[in-house]
């Protein structure tokens, strides 16, 4: 019979034995002496098909596997804010040869993961009608490149994209979401479904193992055109609990951990070998008003509520001192289209009071509903906003929804939604994508424009002359201030934890760029 002491002794001995097994607390090295990069993420995308992976958790892996014709230079953008920077990647040049035709010249001698050499065939496969045409199973492919009517092979290294209407942001598109060049041979031989499991691209890492929702292992693509990548392998593990991810970083099991919470950042100061990096993303959290609800049907009421939020207090409470409040639906990378003076709503209690009385507000209830487990920090933000509104005499009821879907059920006046910019131009997000006639908000009749907003959207989408685009975009921003269908709370921060020995930076989009020029071990 076991005594307690024996039982405890048994347990202790199990632990000693397993401890010898190695926990990976040391830095891991592959056989060739290059280190293994170990990353812990909150989740992974379920697929490795680029056109199915445009989510915050899916982009990381895709950006390791595939290269694009062009590359957005985030480092340069950071150095010179307001100047869009695009570098050649798999294409050495992309030029507009006529209003409806863009020509790209491919980089010679680029080796793909399966040993084939990059040619026009790969570009033709990437932009094939089965991927971006009307019957494509990938809606994102259709949305981003559906206007490409023909992909013409001029010669082995030259391809022309013909578009239905003139596309002034084609270079941004070819450096943004979607145009990850796939290996034509593998795609043809494996078929679209097989390709998801054995993707072939020209990116710095090739696939070694993929266990859905659990782990991805990449091996270095030693023939990568920019030179051999710094890590021999990249192991990305799913660790859903944020406290465990941070513990694993501190204990030395991981080199990079994603999605750290703001209140965990001070913890990093106690350790010399790890640091936290806070990056405001090109992703905004908004509150939107339901035009069908009498309480907020009047624009004066929506504007009053928007002026009644102390945005800096909310953003600071949710994201800590390193928060960013965007100026309307713009990011500085819009370049000439960016107007820092169009600030949208700011905290102005006097104006809020004025508008409340002009709207004849008589203390009716305003229902504010957010899904705290879906939008990070939204629970805190909503409680603070409730208090701020109540301080101005606005009778606010706060409701928490369990999911984004439940939040959308009827019965609320104000809810939360997000908006992102996939490339640095207003066409990529915001005014048209998230507020235009095909947006979720308009399709579900939450936003029913009372102005000529939709007509101006159409004009802006069709405009090509820079001055005309600027005029129409700014007109849209003015109309938004007049309508107030939404108010912008803050840019979402992504906080990554990393070993100080890892030279790598999180971009304002959720890519994980591990190319040799931006990633190395000290």
């Amino acid at each position: 019979m076991f005594t307690r002491r024996q039982t405890l002794g048994l347990l202790a001995s199990t632990m000693t034995l397993t401890a010898l097994d190695g926990t990976g607390a040391r830095r891991a090295f592959a056989q060739d002496g290059r280190p293994v990069l170990r990353v812990a993420v909150q989740a992974l995308g379920p697929s490795l098909e680029p056109l199915e992976s445009m989510t915050n958790v899916g982009l990381r892996a895709i950006d390791c596997l595939f290269d694009r014709p062009l590359r957005r230079n985030f480092v340069e953008e950071e150095r010179h804010p307001g100047k869009p920077a695009i570098d050649p990647q798999l294409a050495t040049s992309v030029t507009q040869v006529s209003p409806l035709v863009w020509e790209m010249t491919l980089r010679p001698g680029v080796r793909l993961h399966d040993g084939t050499t990059l040619s026009a065939e790969d570009v033709l496969a990437t932009f094939g009608p089965d991927r971006i045409g009307p019957d494509s199973p990938y809606p994102d492919g259709k949305i981003l490149f559906g206007h490409v009517t023909e992909v013409e092979k001029v010669d082995d290294m030259t391809v022309r994209l013909h578009t239905r209407q003139e596309d002034v942001v084609m270079r941004h598109r070819l450096a943004g979401y979607g145009p990850w060049i796939i290996g034509a041979k593998a795609y043809r031989e494996l078929g679209p479904e097989g390709f998801k499991a054995q993707p072939v691209g020209a990116g710095p890492y090739k696939l070694k193992e993929f266990v859905r929702d659990t782990r991805i292992v990449f091996a270095s693509h030693d023939d990568y055109w920019m030179g051999a990548p710094a890590a021999a392998e990249v192991v990305i593990s799913v660790v859903p609990e944020v406290a465990t991810r941070v513990a694993g970083l501190i204990s030395g099991e991981y080199d990079i951990v994603t999605n750290v919470l703001p209140d965990q950042v001070p913890q990093f100061a106690g350790y010399a070998d790890v640091e936290a990096e806070t990056v405001p993303m090109d992703l905004l959290h908004l509150l939107f008003f339901d035009y069908n609800r009498p309480a907020v049907a009047d624009a004066k009421m929506r504007r009053a509520l928007s002026f009644a939020i102390d945005y800096d207090a909310v953003a600071k409470a949710v994201w800590g001192p390193r928060y960013r409040r965007p100026n309307n639906f713009q990011i500085p990378a819009f370049g000439d289209l960016y107007d820092p003076n169009r600030k949208y709503f700011t905290y102005d209690p006097d104006q809020a009071r004025e508008l409340l009385s002009a709207a004849g507000y008589a203390g009716g209830e305003i229902v504010l509903r957010v899904p705290p487990s879906y939008y990070l920090g939204s629970g805190d933000a909503a409680q603070i906003i409730q208090a701020q509104w109540q301080a101005l005499g606005i009778n606010t009821r706060l409701e928490f929804a369990e999911s984004a879907a439940q939040q959308m059920q009827p019965g609320a006046d104000v809810r939360m939604i997000s908006s992102s910019f996939r490339y640095p131009d207003p066409l990529s997000g915001g005014v048209i994508v998230h507020l235009g006639r095909n947006s979720y908000l308009q399709k579900h009749k939450f936003f029913i424009p009372r102005t000529d907003y939709n007509e101006v959207c159409d004009q802006f989408a069709a405009a090509t002359a820079p001055e005309e685009r600027k005029r129409l975009f700014w007109r849209l921003l003015d109309l938004l201030e007049e309508e107030a269908p939404v108010t912008i709370l803050y840019a979402v921060n992504e906080i990554v934890g990393k070993r100080t020995k890892v030279n790598w930076t999180q971009y304002p989009l959720y890519y994980m760029d591990l190319r040799p020029d931006v990633f190395s071990f000290a």
Binding site: M1, A40, R212, G248, N438
Partner: protein, 311 residues
């Protein structure tokens, strides 16, 4: 006996089907799966495309009928996320779940049975109070909290064990202790009560009177008689082990069925959630069936009664 078995099996089948039906409707009525599945800033036309693609635009009764017909053919449906076979996805996770569940069970029995027995035999003495206090502590400690404490100590401070992941025996230690101590604590309290019950019975006094050694009395007379409530308890725990490790799996990044359930519910991945619910239902139901059968094996009286009932 055959009829008894058939009736039990039929009842089990109905229970499983009931669970599947409930999951089917709750999932579809508790919000639009597409809103959960796609980023909220997705364009509306994307939502519509997927709705048609997955047949979610059809009336609910039609969807249900198609689901039942597919089930009858052994087709559990496909994941909305990547089109993979739902049953295959669940089976892929079964290894990790069984490994953790098995270890937890072994640990719980190894700790719970001796601790409960010792407490019963030394009833009212300090060792009883000590064991039972430890049991209440183990039972009351939330898994989430205990897991993080262990990570703090063994991964961050001592750097002896990996904080998360799956693969080596070292990865198993902390999740197994987190779950195992909670089950062991409950088990110890059950064992103590059962053994105390039996200790008061006349036949135990008789056995002592026959001057049998105390160990022999415990092994031959006390344990078999105290086993029935304990087996019932273990049956419940065994059934719950498949889906009940959700929190612990999440804390330790353990890729089991519980984590698959969490991920799939969040994504409203209909076919996968339905399949996981069915697998959990099947495991609970079969554990109970096994417990029923074990009664007969342990206790001849149940066997006779069961036989008569069946005859």
């Amino acid at each position: 006996m055959l009829r008894f078995l058939l009736v039990r099996l039929l009842r089990a089948l109905l229970t499983v089907l009931g669970c599947a039906t409930l999951a089917f409707f709750v999932l579809r009525l508790s919000g639009d799966p597409l809103v959960a599945l796609l980023p909220t800033d997705s364009p509306a036309e994307l939502l519509e495309r997927y709705r048609v693609l997955w047949g979610l635009d059809r009336p609910l009764p039609e969807q249900y009928l198609r689901y039942l017909l597919a089930l009858a053919r052994g087709d559990f449906g496909r994941s909305l996320v990547d089109g993979r076979d739902a049953l295959g996805l669940v089976i892929e996770r079964a290894g990790a779940t069984l490994q953790l569940g098995g270890t937890v069970f072994a640990l719980a029995i190894l700790i719970g049975v001796p601790a409960g027995t010792v407490a019963a035999l030394r009833r009212g003495r300090p060792s009883d109070y000590l064991t039972m206090s430890a049991a209440i502590f183990g039972y009351a400690m939330p898994n989430f909290f205990l897991g993080l404490l262990l990570i703090l100590l063994f991964a961050m401070q001592l750097r002896l064990l990996p904080s998360s992941g799956y693969g080596t025996p070292a990865h198993l230690v902390m999740p197994a202790i987190t779950l195992g101590t909670a089950v062991a604590a409950k088990l110890a309290r059950f064992v103590r009560t059962s053994v105390l019950d039996v200790l008061g019975q006349p036949y135990v006094r008789t056995a002592h009177g026959k001057r049998l050694g105390s160990l022999a009395v415990i092994v031959r007379h006390v344990f078999p008689n105290a086993a029935i409530p304990v087996i019932t308890f273990l049956g419940f725990e065994l059934g719950l082990m498949i889906g009940g490790a959700v929190v612990t799996e999440n804390v330790f990044g353990w890729p089991g069925i519980g984590q698959l359930l969490v991920v799939s519910v969040a994504r409203r991945d209909l076919a996968v959630v339905q399949t996981v619910v069915m697998v959990i239902a099947v495991s609970v139901v079969s554990a109970n069936l096994a417990v029923d059968l074990a009664y007969g094996w342990i206790d001849p009286r149940v066997r006779v009664a069961g036989g008569r009932h069946a005859g």
